[in-house]
Amino acid sequence: MSDILIRIRDREGKLHEVDASTDMNMNLMEVVRSYELAPEGTIGICGGIAMCASCQCYICSDHPLPEKTEDEEAMLSEAFYVNDKSRLGCQIRITEDLHGLEVELAPEGA
């Protein structure tokens, strides 16, 4: 199985190029946590059920992404610092067609 490359800008503005595996049923929030790109306890608080928005990020490339579910829409409508590029990282599964994806983490407390 293959890994894909993802570019992630952390909350301090630092850019990280990381490999993410497509065969571990991982989502974007979990990739960020596995590389510890945001301090423990500030991301993934709800474990990935679209209930906290701590994993909010901005998508900066035009990769085809899964549609937002009802739950994701609802959570984003109650989150802060939201814009058109906002997505919940935990709702984005790592698949091969996301190779080269560029994202930026939303500020803490989003």
């Binding site: 301090p39 906290c52 959570m75 802060f80 407390g109």
Partner: protein, 353 residues
């Protein structure tokens, strides 16, 4: 002053189970939690979701697990200080600790067990200039006393269960109730959504959607807010009111605990995992999600294990030198502080003729 043997900070599953293990050793416990109800993350984030990795329970709802824990510890009569955050910790000359809450409630114990999970659950505040200037002067994030809104003009913002439920409740008490949400869709129990619809149709709730509060105004206290309709951003609405209650959920913050002189690493408290989960301050333990050590896993079952070993160590500190051998509950039974008794039924010894 509330006095106990083990003062537990955090009433999540770890803190609750610690009461049971302490009870087996005849030690009394008192718990403090910022949430108004016990259960920690299980109660606040996912009460209606199933858990599949509690040993012996192929499937159990988080809320049910909390109910079961409460039932299991009932004989040991734990005390609770709920809806208050543990703020300061002082070490006394006699070696005991005094913990004071945000509301000034004082607790004293020879042992403190921090079972604070990801931290104390605090309201998420919307990003509005001068919001903090109006706190307790018209702005509230939690409803402590619904009666205080009687006859008042109240505006609630949010689109989840708590926004819906409080709108329903306060619609009957407030003179005017306005509900503002960024979308037309609400996320909550079907029953609540239908009730709000009905209250709206009967003119008891004024719904402003899709819209958001963009500014707060008032001399000294909140007098009005500016609401922007997403559909007509040019025509901001000024709403005169007495109370603005933003309900955007809660998020955990380690908060005051991080300044108690404990070793903090990765937003968690470093403990000795080779022995008893004690922190760098003797007499203070950290158990469950709130601690860290090599290989740490934030799981309920790990919190249960840590609570069990912690209680044994606490017993030794409270009764130094006292000889003790762990007894199985099947063998020793449960002797509650309330006088209740549970015991395995005796086998019958009878001749068969």
């Amino acid at each position: 002053m509330i006095k106990t043997d083990i003062l537990i900070i955090g009433a999540g599953p770890t803190g609750l189970f610690a009461v049971f293990e302490a009870g087996l050793l005849q030690l009394k416990c008192h718990l403090i939690d910022a949430l108004p109800q016990p259960g920690g993350q299980l109660a606040e984030i996912y009460p209606k979701k199933p858990i599949y990795d509690i040993p012996g329970f192929p499937e159990v709802l988080a809320g049910e697990l909390v109910d079961n824990l409460m039932e299991q510890i009932r004989p040991f009569q734990p005390g609770f200080t709920l809806g208050e955050r543990a703020e300061t910790l002082e070490k006394m000359d006699d070696g005991t600790f005094v913990v004071t809450t945000s509301e000034g409630t004082r607790h004293q114990a020879p042992i403190v067990a921090i079972a604070g999970g990801l931290g104390s659950f605090e309201p998420r505040k919307p990003l509005l200039d001068n919001l903090e200037d109006y706190e307790d002067k018209g702005v509230a994030y939690m409803i402590r006393d619904p009666e205080s809104y009687r006859g008042k003009r109240v505006l609630i913002a949010g689109g989840g269960d708590s926004a819906l439920d409080w709108s329903i409740y306060l619609a009957e008490i407030a003179s005017e109730l306005i509900l503002v949400h960024r979308r037309n869709e609400f996320r909550g129990a079907l029953d609540s959504v239908e009730k709000v619809q009905d209250l709206k149709d009967r003119g008891k709730i004024r719904l402003l959607t899709p819209a958001e509060v963009v500014a707060l105004e008032g001399e000294g206290a909140l007098e009005r807010v500016v609401v922007r309709k997403m559909t007509e951003p040019a025509e901001d609405i000024r709403v005169e009111l007495d109370a603005f209650i933003p309900l955007f959920g809660l998020s955990p913050k380690l908060g005051p605990i991080s300044s108690w002189g404990l070793e903090i690493e990765k937003n968690a408290i470093r403990v000795d995992n080779t022995l008893d989960y004690q922190t760098n301050i003797p007499g203070i333990y950290a158990i469950g999600d709130v601690n860290t050590y090599p290989g740490k896993l934030k799981l309920i079952l790990c919190g249960f294990h840590e609570a069990t070993l912690m209680c044994q160590s606490a017993y030794q500190r409270i009764h130094p030198g006292k000889k003790y051998v762990m007894k199985y509950t099947t063998v020793g039974g449960i002797h509650g502080f309330d006088g209740s008794k549970k015991e395995a039924p005796k086998a019958v010894v009878k001749t068969i003729e």
